[in-house]
């Protein structure tokens, strides 16, 4: 068994385990193909083995009512933090620990419930959507009549009827349509966003079955490959039995109607379901969610581990000290606190372990339990702001920014390298035909005329060959090459036409109308904007493509209609980078027209003005035009028979069809006669140079990766400001061998050192790049790093991803961002840390696979500089603050052990332990992390350098982390020893001379802590909306109200009433109030000091710009600060 088969089998096993409905591929049927009997008419005799297929239910939901609880719990406990708390909870259940299991069980329950509610809600939405889809009515041919049923009941082999404008309920092989030629039009907008009409075909033998009764008589078997996710690949064949004779026809993607696509311009079609439900191509594409993790999350996990180490060492230290202390008898068992028999007799090792676990439980809150759930909520809620942003809304296309994953919000603020596609990303992808070169002469289009170089449109005549065509004038002057070129351009394409009054010709012969039609009523739809621009241009000039019906293409050359029979289309593919059509001319000759990138066509041309054209192509490219080369080939009848045979055999092959097709194409597209070249202009998008400049000032290095020619790419680079005129442009082009490449790289490295130019730009082409990457990665990286702009041209999609990976894995591990709009950018988008899709004209593939999608390149500036900045500071502070507040929380408890014989006495009551993280201190930080703005968004955009202040994950660097942790410890010491000193020799603090107990002491520490921790966040807050005020003061007020309430009642279900009236007693004594004030101020006063001194001694640019913001917006008179003092006092 070959490896691929083994892998495939593994995959099946794996997928059947994963999918909610095991698809049950019985071992004997694990073949590479599936056999579908049309209308499920199985052969009555013979070797028929039934195959099992999935039903047509779409299940995008993860859970059912029955498995939600166990499955969701399982998934949540796979998270390390949740699992940790589960363990702690179980430890508490099993052994005698200082706190009841409720103290860690309740927060855990809270966290789990919040997450489960969120996930349950999302799943409920999916269920609803699924039910809608699965319950949709469909028409199926069963036992000779049309039966209405629900979508989920469609089985593989059913013949399904779909009417106009309906979507296909399963992947169908087209059997017949209401048109005589058995074609239909569809749009795949919901699948890949391509809005153009696509023609799909049926095989002639089935296309005649246009009625239910005829279909009833149809005897056909479809064999095709097993389901796969690629939307554009389908290999199969249909065997039709007619009059006892089996006719085999090939099936390709053009015969397959994908689930989710929509039928257009066709009244109804019949198709046989081949892939259903979860096996349809649309469903198979559901998966592939990127599993990217942000840098913040990574550092968060590192910090968690550090805290785990702190926790363990504290527990170990306490346990050891406990035993050191207990080695003296008087402390082991003082007379007033004797042990039980059981305790005396238990083994010391078990004792030791259980003590260790008890300490672990006592200190376990140092790991912030609600960190994950808060981060998740913050990301989920915070990401709405991107979609809501009006500045990221594109008026013309009515598209707003789209967030596909909220996990990477903060990564937007960390980008160091930006990889961008050119076409459609930097440019509009709105093509305008500008110039062409025909037979070695350059022409420019002016007012619907082609004017040779050096001529104006109004001065015809002269001796040189020229082409001045008035639409109505005679075409005597037209040279045959020029006409042929125009015809080639208007015939060699896959453009569709939509007539504005299209209803009238529906179902009829389109050509009957063409004469009475004025061209303006036609609209071209094309997958590639270049093709559309070219066909439109030839129409303007006078050779109009007017329609395509079945296998006949019609053009109108200066009023004369010509019909060409379309014999074959050699489709475009990105590797070949050309496409061809084979036509039968009206005169009966067979002709091939080829159109493609110059590097993909010129090598195969043998005749024509090759050298001149090459020069012209380079000139076009220098102007920033996109170039295509057009060539043709005449076939002799004998040649054509050979060609036809090759193509047929390749197309019907079930095995390795692609490969065979490539071979056939390569054989056919050869010995070409060069006709000329076209130059199409792609306009730059709005504000691209400004955006690039702004991003560069933000410290982001920009690499342009394009499939275009080197000259085109450089000129676009220059026009969009990626390259400057002052830049020293280094070139690494057309390297043929390793040595040559290394030599060139070394030369470049030397030039960088020697040339005293500030900025360098590097141009690399695909071939040289792969050479450079193969052997000289380091050298190449060195050169790249010294260049402020890099341009890679002639890049294949995978090469783009490779470049991204190269940068990503370089020693500095920079954060990369990839922007692109087309399918060729998908791999790069998925590879980069953050992938951004541009909602352009090239379909939605890039958008679907991206993490964020925006309508225009210029939105990147706000997305990164403002949103990225906001999200980063928010989440960074959130993470640091969480660790800080938990250190503050637990350290006093640790310190208290030194005063209570390491007996694991808790300092705070269990209820306080439980609620600290989920009630008293949770909301202010959540609101902070949703609304904080260090600097006004306008200033962030105006001063891109502020972006550098937060680069390299600076707010989560180890130093800052250490600062926050040390701050936490310091504050904890102040809380604890402040309260300790207050108690002094245990003097009474009450005016009636009565004494406090241990719980009052703990409550004092806790009160001070809640206030300090909340105010510390208040000090960090720069942007006080009413919500911040509400939650900050509200949290403190809530703590007081809750404590009064909690301590004011004898709780019948509580085991002990330790806290009864403790809080009231505490507040009733004046010293406690004075103590709270002094301890809180002592904690925060150095903070304020530090902030002020830093601000004045070495202000960061962020702080500087804050001053300008506030002086502009808030206080026009800085000296008015005295008046504001009262208010400012509040925040301390």
């Amino acid at each position: 068994m070959s490896t691929s088969k083994v892998l495939k089998r593994l995959w099946f096993v794996f997928s059947s385990l994963l999918s909610p409905f095991p698809q049950g591929f019985d071992p004997p049927h694990q073949s590479d193909t599936r056999t579908v009997y049309v209308a499920n008419r199985f052969p009555e005799h013979g070797h028929y083995i039934p195959q099992r297929f999935a039903d047509n239910r779409i299940i995008s939901s993860k859970y059912t009512i029955w498995n939600f609880v166990p499955k969701n719990l399982f998934e949540q406990f796979r998270r390390i933090a949740n699992f940790y708390f589960l363990i702690i909870f179980l430890v508490q259940l099993m052994i005698d620990t200082p706190t009841s299991p409720v103290t860690s069980g309740l927060p855990l329950l809270f966290v789990i419930t919040v997450t489960a509610i969120k996930q349950g809600y999302e799943d409920w939405l999916r269920h609803k959507a699924d039910n809608e889809v699965n319950g949709a009515p469909v028409f199926v041919v069963r036992s000779g009549s049309l039966v209405q049923t629900r979508s989920k009941n469609i089985r593989v082999g059913d013949i399904v009827r779909v009417a106009k404008d309906e979507t296909f309920p399963a992947d169908l092989v087209l059997l017949s349509s209401d048109r005589a030629d058995g074609t239909c039009h569809i749009t795949t907008a919901s699948l890949d966003g391509e809005t153009n009409l696509k023609t799909h075909f049926s095989v002639p033998e089935t296309s005649v079955c246009q009625s239910v009764s005829q279909l009833e008589a149809l005897q056909a078997v479809v064999e095709c490959q097993q389901p796969e996710a690629d939307l554009y690949r389908f290999v199969g064949r249909v065997t039709v039995t007619q009059h006892g004779e089996e006719i085999v026809r090939p099936l390709g993607p053009e015969n397959l109607l994908l689930r989710g696509a929509r039928l257009k311009n066709t009244k109804e079609i019949f198709g046989v379901a081949v892939y259903t439900g979860m096996e349809s191509k649309m469903a198979l594409n559901y998966k592939c969610k990127s599993q990217k993790r942000s840098a913040v999350e990574k550092s968060m996990n590192t910090f968690l581990i550090i805290y785990l180490v702190i926790l363990l060492s504290e527990a170990v230290l306490s346990t050891i000290l406990k035993y050191a202390w207990q080695s003296e008898d008087e402390w082991n068992e003082p007379f007033y606190n004797q042990k039980t028999e059981q305790e005396r007799n238990s083994s010391p090792i078990l004792q030791f372990i259980s003590d260790f676990l008890a300490f672990l439980v006592l200190y376990n809150f140092i790991i912030p339990i609600s960190l994950y759930v808060t981060v998740e909520m913050q990301k989920f809620l915070g990401s709405f702001f991107i979609g809501w942003d009006l500045d990221l809304y594109h008026e013309e296309s009515n598209q707003k920014a789209q967030v596909n994953t909220s996990d990477l919000n903060e990564e937007l603020g960390q980008v160091e390298y930006l990889f961008t596609d050119k076409t459609g990303t930097l440019t509009e992808n709105e093509m305008q035909f500008r110039e062409c070169s025909i037979n070695g002469i350059k022409y420019r289009e002016m007012n619907g005329k082609l004017v040779p170089e050096g001529m104006t449109g109004d001065s015809p005549g002269g001796s040189s060959p020229q082409l001045v065509i008035h639409t109505n004038s005679c075409c005597t002057k037209l040279m045959s090459e020029e006409l042929l070129f125009l015809k080639a351009v208007s015939l060699c394409h896959t453009v569709q036409i939509s007539y504005n009054q299209s209803e009238s010709w529906l179902g009829g012969d389109p050509f009957s109308h063409t004469n009475s039609f004025s061209f303006s009523h036609m609209e071209y739809y094309a997958a590639s904007p270049d093709e559309k621009a070219l066909v439109e241009a030839t129409r303007r000039i006078g050779v109009a493509f007017t329609g395509c019906s079945g296998d006949t293409m019609e053009i109108n050359t200066f009023g004369k209609t010509e019909k060409y029979k379309l014999l074959h289309v050699l489709e475009f593919d990105p590797n070949r980078r050309r496409m061809s059509v084979i036509l039968e001319t009206p005169s009966g000759g067979k002709m091939l027209f080829t159109k493609g990138a110059e590097s993909a066509v010129l090598p195969f041309t043998t005749t024509g003005e090759i050298e001149k054209t090459r020069l012209h192509v380079d000139e076009f490219a220098l102007k920033g035009l996109r170039t295509l080369v057009v060539a043709c080939r005449h076939f002799s009848p004998k040649e054509y028979i050979d060609v036809d045979k090759r193509l047929m055999s390749a197309r019907t092959a079930l095995q390795r069809r692609e490969e065979k097709l490539q071979q056939a194409f390569a054989h056919i597209e050869n010995h070409l006669h060069l006709l000329g070249a076209t130059g199409v202009e792609d306009k730059l998008q709005d504000k691209v140079p400004e955006t690039i400049e702004v991003l560069r000032r933000a410290g982001i290095k920009i690499w342009v990766l394009t499939g275009d020619k080197h000259e085109t790419a450089v000129s676009v680079s220059l026009s969009c400001g990626h390259f400057h005129r002052t830049m020293n442009i280094l070139e690494l082009l057309q390297q043929r061998s390793d040595n040559e490449c290394a030599e060139q790289l070394r030369r470049l490295a030397r030039r960088i050192k020697e040339d005293h130019v500030i900025q360098h730009g590097l141009v690399v082409d695909g071939a040289s790049l792969s050479l450079a990457l193969r052997e000289h990665e380091k050298l190449f990286m060195e050169v790249c790093k010294n260049c402020s702009a890099v341009l890679c041209c002639r890049m294949a999609p995978l090469q783009k991803a490779k470049v991204v990976r190269l940068l990503k894995t370089s020693p500095e591990k920079p954060i990369t961002l990839a922007v692109g709009d087309g399918a060729n950018d998908v791999s790069m988008i998925q590879e980069a840390h953050v992938g951004i899709g541009i909602m352009g004209k090239e379909g939605r593939q890039a958008v679907r696979n991206s993490d964020y999608a925006i309508a225009r390149f210029k939105f990147l500036a706000k997305l990164l500089l403002v949103h990225g900045h906001f999200y980063y500071i928010r989440i960074a502070t959130l993470v640091q603050y969480f660790f800080y507040k938990n250190v503050c929380f637990i350290t006093p408890q640790f310190l208290y052990q030194f005063f209570c014989l390491f007996s694991q006495q808790t300092l705070y009551d269990s209820v306080y332990l439980t609620l600290y993280n989920i009630c008293f201190t949770s909301l202010p930080i959540l609101v902070y992390s949703l609304f904080e703005q260090l600097v006004h968004p306008d200033i962030l955009q105006a001063k891109p350098s502020l972006y550098r202040d937060i680069s390299k994950n600076s707010l989560l660097s180890f130093r800052t982390f250490l600062y926050w942790t040390m701050l936490g410890f310091t504050h904890a010491f102040v809380f604890f020893f402040g309260s300790y000193l207050l108690m002094g020799e245990d003097t009474s603090l009450m005016s009636n001379g009565q004494m406090f107990g241990n719980w009052t002491f703990g409550t004092l520490v806790f009160t001070v802590m809640v206030i300090t921790v909340t105010l510390k966040l208040a000090l960090e807050t720069q942007f006080w909306t009413w919500m911040n005020h509400f939650v900050t003061w509200g949290s403190i007020a809530f703590y007081f109200i809750f404590s009064l309430f909690y301590g004011g009642i004898i709780w019948p279900f509580l085991h002990t009433q330790d806290m009864y009236f403790v809080f009231v007693q505490l507040l009733s004594c004046g010293s406690a109030w004075f103590a709270i004030v002094i301890i809180v101020i002592t904690c925060l006063f150095p903070e304020v000091m530090k902030k002020v001194l830093y601000r004045h001694l070495c202000p960061t640019s962020t702080q500087k710009s804050q001053v300008t913001t506030s002086s502009q917006i808030l206080c026009p008179e800085p000296r008015a600060s005295w008046a504001k003092l009262g208010r400012r006092f509040e925040i301390r």
Binding site: D389, L901, L982, G993, G997, Q1022, F1023
Partner: protein
Amino acid sequence: MKQSNRIKAMVKEEQEESSNRPDNTAFTQQRLPAWQPILSASIVIPMFVLIGAAFIGVGVALFITSRDIQLQELDYTGDDSEHPCFKCRTNTEKCTCSMTFSIPTLFKGPVFFYYGLTNYFQNQRKYGASKDDNQLYGDLNYFTSPSTDCDPYTRDSKNMPIVPCGALANSMFNDTFTLSHTVNGVQKIVPLDGKGIAWWTDYNIKYRNPSITPLINAFNGTKKPTNWPKPIYELDTTDVYNNGFINQDFLVWMRRAALPDFRKLYRRITHDDYAAGLPAGNYTLTIAYNYPVHSFNGKKKVVLSNVSWMGGKNDFLGIAYIVVGSMCVVMSIVMLIVYARFKFGEDD
């Protein structure tokens, strides 16, 4: 131009209902009105000066208040062989000793009489948990089957349930004191008031005797704590409202101390003769020495103290306020220097 675009867009919006245009509200555009304070020297310096001045003022007041409080501390552990209580130190029998001391000036009333223990860990977890709040609430069901938290003080050697159970109750402090004033060579007993030494809520709500009279009947089938000389219902036979679980000495003991060196309120001196305070003169403290602290090197002491509105003598608060207040002032001077030197740089 922009204007016309906007109008066009609005018209378009009316036409198309499915417009994706985000709402233009302050909330969605993250432009909520917000107060953006900046902690700069110009604000912080005056603030610090103000706070510093206020703190120094408060600190001085607190310090003076604390200084005015009188304190008389008598260690009666008897570690020193010269000490009158030395003989009682290891004696397990009933032992009485007395100490004399003099008060030079009037000890202003009301005077509070504390006993203090050191090195005594009332805050151990097992010790603190070793009680049954339901028993103490007077719930008879828990008299016969006390909570196992009380182990090993749940049942005595004959497996009889102990009420009140647990280590905390069992180890109740049982030294008693009498204070006498030498007036003209005659010892005059200073009356000590045992009321109002426990928290009001403990006395009235949290602890309750079972509603059975006489109280003794409620304790049928139970035993007294092993260390106790007499059962709980005989703690104060003279006063039903100070007997059983609501005996205030018991309540004071049951509110365990936070730290190993602690004081507990023993009596208040409120009798008419001494309402104004203890007059200057010689006093004798007679101690019925029962409680053993020798085994863990503990110390026992008696503290006489009067209180202010802020409680007993406590210099810490006053000093802390003065220190932090002065630091605020000093730091504001430092900041002023920094501000003066760097302000102009900032303006550039």
